[in-house]
Symmetry: C2
């Protein structure tokens, strides 16, 4: 018996020109979600997807929200693993239009020194990525008349405008959306040859502190030396947040920070991350975090504390001998593992209060608190997907971390109690959100093949 | 033989209404030096003074400069101590005019709950103060036909517009202006009952430091933890500038800081300075400087380091998870004793450089460097003046310090190698530079009597 995957991959290769035509069709719809003038286009893109999914045999519908609609479709095997696939069909605005080499909504395949690309707004973010999955399903269905997994599609039209309807919709439709594992396609490769499954996303705790001293700005000649300077207090607090080894000193900060599992550590070591090149691209050289950690751990797996903004007194041109009445800083923490943002907020505030002298007072403001998303890679789908990806690309796939936050993964966990596999084929130079956005033909082609392999592998896992 | 001072004081009392008329005449000239429209008025005020000084028998002239003229006059005893008297005849603008109760240039004596005042722009700063000295000379001359000291008047018309001609004029006319001691009338009482001779003026060293890290602002999700944050570096440097006892930690900072002489310390103790009231007026309570010093020492006799301004990253509304490319602070030092601002600038910069990590660089900008002015109170004129003032006012006079800088005293020292006695009768509530400026009739009357006594005392010292 031949492997059922082989004919699917062959069909994907043969069908690539038609797949490109379909993607170009979708890219031609200027579904800019932030611009009310384009609301009919966002609707049209949703309709296009409903029609395409229906044509493939899925039960597809366009669900209204108070904003743009959700496209939801179900189908595939009755039993077998149940996957929820998430993507978005809206795109970023195209301004400044004059920086585009051509019409952003007239997709074209172009030759470049780095290979063929599909050039258009949304080519990479996220229509091209989204279509890799639909094309893989299409090939499966064309070859075998059925899919080896159960599927739910969940396609959003508001991702580029802050997803205002997402959480309410997910809460109202939790039963329908819940699956074994979610697939999120809105991410990228580790590098051009190495696919990645993002399994760790850092959380974020944002705080703003304002130290108040005198009830007005003072003249530093008259009061300097006698009146407490809140900038000095703020500097002391900010400085105390790290020790000499780059560790954050807030009590209990590392309590719920797990050590990197040995297998992940081994995978990361194989990535051959070049810290010098990574920092070199922005003019730096030396990893500044915890000195007993690798640079990759620092950005993917370790929590941080950063001053994002700081202001006090006179900051214009020249000089003023003012003794400021207040000083403030915006400080954020990237969180990992089981760190509890609410517990850490209190710990941070206690840390600050302990350093505010008797003559000053501190005011706090909240700017968000979300825990890290750490996927339980125990589910066999994870390892299956990793091996499937490794079979398709030049280099083996790795479970990687992401320094930033991808809210949808957190919502899937908190609302649907479901882990996510973040798998995408975008590359760093795709210019998403920028003029002349592109998606590599290689990303599109191998992306489709990758999903075909993943579906196959998960069905057997 | 009766004391020659007695009839002078009697004449001052008798002549007070006429003295007030003369002051009102001068106040009526709107000699606003910053406003080109008032240039003729500044000239008219200079002419008025030349005429008045000439009428008293002085050899007076109006010296042109590239800006407003200097009024210079000489006279008095051929031998005996030689005093240079400095004041200024220009005034501040009057905006906002609608906040004045009446015409700022129509001087009027008014009754207030705290006694009679002369209300007009320039009443206190500095025409009223300047005229106290002229009236004292007038009374001496009227009674005795001569003065017991040699006098040079040096009256400026650009004090309120930054004195652009002052230093060049002083350098060109150093020989003419040089005297034994300078008298500067542009200062105030310690309190309503206690006259003061300011003998210590703090110097000022201004520095701006900018810490550069990455060559652009970074996303704290992508780079947070790995890239050095310049705000963290700046906070560390700023925090390190003071130890827990409020002492400045820059190496060598206290090398040239003298201890307070015992006699000055005793005088200051008698002033009964109320630190709680001083700080309480701005909502503070606890002296924040060196914890082994009194609050009065902190502001008059001890050097300081203050952050006057600090900025980095995003400081607008809300939050941005930016990792800033740079962070900067404006830092000033108030200097005392023999502290050398140039030496300390280097010491401060070394201190900063030692705290800049390998991946950052620091940029420095200068914002002024002037040493403290410490008068040699050894000259007998100082003690003579102190006793003369003590005889006139309810409480004994003290040699005091001033936290701020009065540049003219520094110029007299550096250009004319002459110590200054800063003696004035302004009070804290005179509203100089503000609407409804006033000068107490008590300040004017006792001020004239004070100068008569000082002239007498110095002639005998």
């Amino acid at each position: 018996m031949t492997d059922p995957l082989d004919p699917v991959l062959s069909r994907i290769d043969a069908d690539l020109p038609q797949a490109l035509d379909r993607l170009s069709d979708l890219l031609r719809i200027p579904s800019i979600s932030t611009d009310p003038a384009h609301t009919p286009d966002v609707e049209a893109a949703a309709d296009w997807l409903v029609k395409d999914l229906t044509a493939m045999g899925f039960s597809a519908r366009k669900d209204p929200t108070t904003g743009h609609p959700m496209v939801v479709a179900t189908g595939g095997a009755e039993d077998g693993p149940h996957l929820l696939f998430y993507g978005h069909y809206d795109v970023q605005p195209v301004d400044p239009l004059h920086l585009w080499d051509r019409d952003p909504f007239d997709a074209q395949v172009q030759d470049t020194p780095r290979g063929k690309v599909i050039r258009a707004r949304g080519a990479s973010d996220d229509k091209g990525q989204l279509m890799t999955f639909l094309e893989a399903c299409r090939a499966w269905l064309a070859e075998h008349g059925s899919l080896p997994v159960k599927l739910t599609f969940f396609l959003e039209g508001e991702e580029e405008s802050g997803s205002p309807s997402l959480v309410p919709y997910m809460k109202q439709n939790a039963e329908q959306l819940k699956a074994d594992v979610a697939l999120i396609c809105d991410t990228g490769m580790y590098d051009a040859e190495t696919p990645a499954i993002t399994t760790m996303l850092r959380g974020l705790l944002g705080e703003e502190i304002t130290i108040h001293a005198a009830d007005r700005d003072l003249h530093s000649g008259m009061f300097g030396g006698a009146a407490m300077n809140p900038a000095r207090v703020l500097a002391r607090i900010s400085s105390d947040l790290h020790d000499d080894q780059g560790r954050v000193t807030v009590p209990g900060f590392y309590d719920d920070v797990p050590d990197l599992p040995a297998d992940i550590r081994a995978q990361w070591a194989e990535l051959g991350f070049d810290a010098e090149a990574f920092l070199g691209q922005v003019g730096l050289r030396l990893p500044a975090g915890e000195q007993d950690r690798s640079a990759l751990e620092m950005i993917w797996a370790r929590p941080t504390c950063e001053i994002n903004g700081m202001i006090s007194g006179y900051t214009g041109a020249g000089f003023k001998t003012v003794l400021p009445a207040q000083a403030s800083a915006k400080i954020s923490f990237r969180l990992v593992g089981q760190q509890d943002p609410h517990k850490l907020r209190e710990s941070f505030r206690d840390f600050v209060r302990a350093r505010v002298p008797a003559d000053c007072r501190v005011e706090f403001a909240e700017h968000g608190a979300s825990p890290a998303s750490v996927m339980s890679t125990d589910h066999p789908a994870f390892e299956a997907a990793r091996q499937a990806l490794s079979a398709e690309w030049p280099k083996p796939a790795a479970f990687v971390g992401s320094g930033g936050s991808i809210p949808i993964a957190g919502y899937f966990k908190s609302i649907l109690e479901m882990d996510s596999m973040l798998i995408g084929f975008a590359k760093e130079d795709d210019a998403i959100h920028s003029p002349n956005e592109k998606y590599d033909l290689d990303s599109f082609h191998r992306g489709i093949r990758s999903w075909a392999r993943i579906i196959d592998a998960i069905s057997k896992a």
